[in-house]
């Protein structure tokens, strides 16, 4: 899962990015509205965390321009807690709304819910036969036994599980699993796929040669 955080307060941005990365997300950051909008239009993020008060372009404007092109789920962060502000936020295309100050755990839960909803998955546990992916607890079990995965490996499994039945291209996987600081030309993806196969069974992830990877429903 790849997330863009647009926030101008550097300490808040750093704290959010660190937490999200530790949760296994690939995280891009932007410190002002213009930069944020450029990145959000350029990359297909799984979610955008958008502060309302931003220099250059404010959050409303970023949201408005982004919505002209993309449906990326957006979580608005704002210090205003009037009902009118919340209504305005949701009406102008935000998918969720969080008032500062918030608890980190709530932000993470809302992001998970956003991503799940955008993949049309209502429940937090995805059942793939022998393997079950609990996106709330971030645990993968095989025959009811928890399997230890690294954050990246989990992210790979979760992304394929959320899109199970579909073929996911290598490019898409790169886009959603690695952030702007990673070297996307490396063969990291092959390493992760091979590790997941070792842990969850050789047939868990199928290779569609020339197309990409998929998990059968």
């Amino acid at each position: 899962m790849r997330i863009l955080v647009i926030e101008d307060e550097p300490d808040l941005l750093a704290g959010l990015a660190r937490s999200l990365r530790e949760e296994g997300y690939a995280v891009d950051t932007a410190q002002d509205g213009e930069d944020g909008l450029l990145k959000a239009l350029d990359v297909n993020y799984d979610a955008v965390v958008l502060d309302v008060m931003l220099p250059r372009l404010d959050g409303w404007e970023v949201l408005r321009r982004l919505r002209q092109h993309k449906k990326t789920p957006v979580l608005l962060l704002t210090a205003r807690d009037k009902t009118t502000d919340r209504v305005r936020g949701l009406d102008s295309g935000a998918d969720d709304y969080l008032v500062k100050p918030f608890d980190l755990s709530e932000l993470l839960a809302r992001l998970r819910a956003l991503i799940r909803r955008s993949a049309s998955e209502a429940r937090s546990v995805i059942d793939l036969g022998a393997v079950q992916v609990d996106t709330a607890a971030r645990i993968v079990t095989r025959d009811a036994v928890p399997v230890v995965l690294t954050a990246r490996e989990y992210a790979l499994v979760e992304y394929l599980a959320l899109h199970h039945g579909d073929v996911v291209t290598r490019t898409t996987l790169y886009e959603h699993l690695f952030d702007e600081t990673d070297d996307s030309l490396s063969n990291l993806l092959d390493v992760h796929v091979s590790n997941v196969r070792k842990k969850l069974g050789p047939d868990f992830i199928a290779t569609r040669r020339g197309h990409g990877y998929s998990i059968e429903a």
């Binding site: 101008d8 307060e9 300490d11 808040l12 704290g15 530790e22 250059r56 205003r80 500062k100």
Partner: protein, 456 residues
């Protein structure tokens, strides 16, 4: 009794009492004028007839020989017709004896002979009589019934009372209507004030007539209510803004600490977290200090040590302190001084100048310029600060001194609370001075602080 306490009832009572007094006076006077007019007419009739009788008695033949015989009354038929008839005049003539010697036909029964000391005019029941003790007889009396006149006067009195009562009733009804009309705005004012007291500050008094005294009162009250509402709104905004400004640093602390506590961290990471928290806390402290300072300035509690103050020295000291900041941004400060002395608190004036200078440096392009100057003109001592910054939008210019106003609607990492210029303005105003700003986008911004000049 409760009702006389209401203005309406009190006015009505006074009004009624006044009306009754006036009507009574009028009625009484009219009744008596009418009565005396009628009596005078009757008395004139009586007197003329009395002299007729007396003359008629004296006109009789001289009968000196028969001294004991009573004199004869001679009246022409014309004169005789003056007695009796519709008006019922009568006469009675006495000699020494109490039995009259002659009585006219219209006379009532048993007219008593008047005593020697009786008045010339007497009223006996329904009869009015005039009398004369004169020779050749002992006493002559002429009278008539005044029953008709009395009845007419009673009718007249009754009519007066009826008219008076009607006028009083009409007056009271009219008075009630007038008082109600006059007091109506008071009721509206009261109702509006009650609605405002319930918390709806947007309520106003409906005021049709702005010329009357109550209309003017309503206008004054409406203005007051408007000002109150604006003040409350400003206060509410200010509180919301202050809370809003505190939210971001609190969010930083929460996010940083919650993130750090999810697992074991290296010493380096803990240090970074603590530093971030410290920065957030510093920011909150600056905000709280600014808020407190503004609150004290607003309440007029900030102590000022007013004394003769050389603005040249104040500005020169401030510029000296600003040089490192300017040098870091490669900004040149050009100074130009001519004498400017005012009455003020040197420390507070330095705060004003420092704030203007740091703004001029901060919102400037790298390698830009800041001009600072002092001079006196037309009784005002001035400090001017100009820079080569990006300038301020015309739309934002009227709001630069607003609390928590910031040019691009966003927090800046520099940690400005958005209260700096508001505080500067409050200090200048507390000195009785004025602070003005002019700006042109892409050219720069120009602040002028003016104070009342003192003799150097």
């Amino acid at each position: 009794m409760r009702f006389p306490r209401s203005i309406r009832w009190r006015l009505q009572l006074w009004y009624g009492a006044l009306l009754v007094t006036v009507l009574c006076g009028f009625g009484f006077t009219a009744y008596h004028l009418e009565k005396s007019r009628r009596l005078r007419r009757i008395d004139e009739g009586l007197h003329s007839r009395l002299s007729l009788i007396v003359d008629g008695l004296r006109a009789g033949p001289e009968r000196s020989g028969e001294k004991r015989r009573p004199p004869e009354l001679r009246l022409t038929p014309e004169q005789a017709s003056l007695f009796g008839g519709a008006e019922g005049y009568y006469y009675v003539i006495w000699m020494q004896a109490p039995q009259p010697i002659q009585i006219s036909s219209a006379a009532p029964k048993a007219v008593p002979k008047p005593g020697a000391r009786e008045e010339q005019l007497r009223v006996r029941g329904e009869f009015r009589e005039t009398l004369l003790f004169a020779a050749p007889v002992n006493c002559v009396l002429v009278g008539r019934s005044i029953a008709t006149e009395n009845a007419e006067l009673r009718n007249f009195g009754g009519a007066l009372i009826a008219i008076g009562a009607a006028v009083l009733a009409a007056g009271l009804v009219g008075g009630w209507w007038l008082v109600t009309r006059a007091l109506q705005p008071i009721g509206e004012i009261g109702a509006a004030a009650a609605r405002i007291a319930e918390g709806d500050l947007s309520q106003r008094i409906e005021n049709g007539d702005s010329q009357s005294e109550l209309g003017q009162l309503a206008n004054v009250l409406n203005t007051t209510f408007g000002r109150l509402e604006a003040l409350f709104a400003q206060q509410a905004n200010f509180t919301a803004d202050a809370a809003h400004e505190l939210r971001t640093p609190v969010t930083v602390i929460l996010t940083q600490t919650q993130s750090a506590l999810t697992r074991e961290r290296s010493e380096e990471e803990y240090r970074e977290t603590i530093e971030a928290c410290q920065r957030a806390a510093q920011r909150m402290r600056r905000l709280i200090e600014s808020l407190m300072e503004l609150a004290r300035l607003d309440a007029g509690q900030e102590p000022f040590h007013l004394e003769k103050c050389d603005l040249v020295k104040v500005v020169r000291d401030c510029v000296g302190l600003m040089h490192p900041l300017a040098a870091a941004r490669k900004i040149a400060i050009e100074e130009e001084y001519s004498a400017a002395v005012c009455r003020g608190d040197a420390e507070r004036l330095a705060q004003v100048v420092t704030n203007l200078l740091s703004n001029a440096i901060e919102y400037n392009q790298e390698g830009g310029k800041v001009w600072v100057s002092t001079h006196s003109k037309e009784g005002m001592a001035m400090v001017k600060v100009r820079n080569t910054g990006a300038g301020i939008d015309a739309a934002d210019l009227p709001h630069v001194f607003d609390r928590f106003h910031r040019g691009d609607k966003a927090r800046t990492a520099s940690g400005h609370s958005g209260l700096g210029l508001a505080i500067v303005q409050a200090i200048v105003h507390a000195h009785g001075g004025s602070l003005n700003v002019e700006s042109e986008v892409e050219t720069g911004t120009f602040f002028v602080a003016k104070f009342h000049a003192e003799e150097p």
